[in-house]
């Protein structure tokens, strides 16, 4: 029954896309990814998948571990070419990394020889933005993630949560229209994680950036997302799309409420039904 609702949503999304392609910020059209194993056999990570995401939406991709979530994210980032299908960003086909996309990994992936300030400056440095401008911009971003006063510290002097904030500031420094996050809070303790969820929500609303956020935490997905894309086991595809119809910003208290609990239950049932199908 719940599965039916999800499928209906997905069909609706596809329908909307075909009616008015310009309304979509980023669109995946039947993208798939196949790896060729050493023995020559093909190994399908992602089956042909289609979806469409509007500008400013917060999308969580939820699925069992090893289901190809990261593969999907790398394709959307332009770092991995799909084996089939195409990704369209604002009407143009995506081929290669997009400089208006910001990337956040599970670990902060900071450069240990650079201070916080210089880490945040890195993307602008690569793009050749003049020093004065990038210093100002980096300071602004450090302030946004509440790390003012830590600019001259080195990564090893910071806690895990602070390091992840730095990597978010770095991703924001080019004012990305799309923020791609691969389980960014997976390595943090529960308290820090909730705090970071709140901050990410604030930042995404402030910057109006579209966010695609990969997670395997059901509660996190339900709390953060406008829509949750549920992925099936490998070879995977987006099997269901669940709308979380709670206005954002959402307070932390929502995490333990029935309102969110209803969605958490629905998402859990969807993930569970896939496991039993195997």
């Amino acid at each position: 029954m719940k599965g039916e609702i999800g499928r209906g949503d997905r069909l609706l999304a596809l329908d909307e896309m075909s009616r008015d392609p310009t309304s979509a910020f980023i669109e995946a059209r039947d993208i798939s990814r196949t790896y060729v194993a050493i023995d020559g056999s093909a190994n399908t990570a992602v089956l042909p998948t289609s979806f469409s995401i509007r500008a400013g939406e917060f999308i969580c991709i939820l699925g069992p571990s090893g289901c190809g979530k990261s593969t999907l994210l790398l394709m959307l980032a332009g770092l991995l070419a799909p084996s089939g299908g195409e990704i369209v960003v604002e009407g143009k086909q995506l081929c290669g990394p997009h400089k208006k996309f910001g990337m956040v990994f599970q670990d902060a992936v900071l450069f240990p020889w650079r201070t916080v300030q210089r880490n945040v400056e890195l993307p602008q440095e690569v793009l050749g933005i003049p020093r004065k401008r990038r210093v100002t911009k980096a300071s602004e971003m450090i302030k946004m993630v509440n790390l003012s006063g830590f600019s001259s510290k080195f990564p090893h002097e910071l806690s895990g949560g602070m390091q992840q904030r730095v990597s978010i500031a770095r991703a924001l420094s080019l004012e990305p229209t799309l923020l791609l996050m691969d389980e960014p809070f997976g390595a943090l303790d529960a308290m820090t994680r909730e705090q970071m969820n709140l901050e990410l929500q604030r930042i995404s609303l402030e910057t109006k950036a579209t966010v695609i956020f990969v997670t395997h935490s059901i509660v996190e997905a339900a709390f953060l997302a406008d829509r949750v894309f549920v992925m099936s086991e490998r070879p995977s595809t987006v099997s269901h799309i669940v709308d979380i119809e709670i206005p954002r910003p959402r307070p932390l208290a929502l995490m333990s409420s029935d309102q969110l609990g209803k969605y958490v239950g629905q998402l859990r049932a969807l993930l569970g039904s896939m496991e039993s199908a195997l």
Binding site: A77, G78, L79, G96, P97, K99, F101, M103, F105, D107, V109, F111, P112, W113, L122, P123, E125, V126, L127, F154, P155, H156
Partner: protein, 268 residues
């Protein structure tokens, strides 16, 4: 009264606990043992001189200035050889680690070469590069090259691939990825290689001088050995050790300046 004695005791213990102090004390004890043994057993000076004679000789060499020209020659051989080894090791190592053609063709060859005792090539270098400083530089460079090269390759392979992915996601050029991500990432490995390399370079220069040279600390050792001046040989050894220790210390200082994050990682 007893408390006074105790606190003095504690002070002495603390003083001895300082690593440099305990090391110095060990050296002094060993030297005294050497002095007493040589004098007690009446060992002739041309077999093993007492440390006091060696210290006198070290002082004489310094005052008379005989050591200076030899020291400078050997030091320049070591530094030239080391710099060549560092440059070649860094570029060849990077090429091997990053370009798969080189990895398949050159790296197996390099690894096979490692089993060849490079010192055995020194006589050949004397023929090819002459009696002067060049043949010693080549020997020093060749011996120092391998630890540097191998560490550079290992360092390049150990890089967190997500750093590269991050740079690629920014559309960074190959050069930008190399200089902003790869090179700094592998600095701790490079410095580990350089630390071994500098000691090897000293060894290479000395061996080169043993084979044939008119100046340099190695040739001075050979000359003094020929005239059975054992205290003189020991004196040269002292200067050689001094050179090695200072060069190594300089590199350590560079390591903690330019690869400080790895030092932190190792201790935590």
């Amino acid at each position: 009264m007893t408390t006074e004695v105790d606190s003095a005791n504690v002070a002495v213990r603390r003083f001895v606990a300082i690593p440099a102090v305990s090391l110095a004390l060990t050296i002094i004890v060993l030297l005294v043992l050497w002095e007493v043994t040589v004098r007690g057993l009446d060992v002739p000076r041309y077999i093993l001189p007492p440390p006091s004679a060696v210290i006198m000789k070290v002082y004489e060499d310094f005052i008379s200035g005989t050591i200076v020209s030899h020291f400078v020659v050997t030091l320049s051989e070591v530094i030239c050889g080391f710099v060549i080894a560092a440059v070649v090791g860094l570029s060849l190592g990077s090429a091997v680690a990053l370009i798969s053609v080189f990895e398949r063709t050159l790296y197996p060859l390099i690894l096979a070469m490692q089993t060849v005792p490079k010192i055995a090539l020194a006589p050949l270098f004397l023929i090819w590069f002459g009696y002067g400083i060049q043949s010693k530089i080549v020997t020093a460079a060749l011996i120092a090259l391998f630890p540097i090269l191998v560490n550079v390759v290992a360092g390049m392979r150990a890089i967190d691939q997500r750093r590269i992915l991050l740079m690629r996601s920014l559309g960074a050029s190959v050069f930008s990825v190399f200089f902003k991500a790869r090179l700094p990432s592998m600095l701790p490995h490079l410095f580990a290689g350089l630390e071994v390399g500098i000691i090897f370079a000293v060894m290479g220069a000395i061996v080169g001088e043993f084979i044939g040279a008119s100046t340099g600390l190695g040739s001075l050792i050979v000359q003094r050995q020929a005239s059975v001046d054992v205290a003189g040989v020991f004196s040269v050894l002292v200067y050689l050790s001094f050179m090695g220790v200072v060069l190594h210390a300089v590199l350590r200082a560079f390591t903690s300046r330019f690869a400080f994050w790895a030092a932190v990682k190792a201790t935590t």
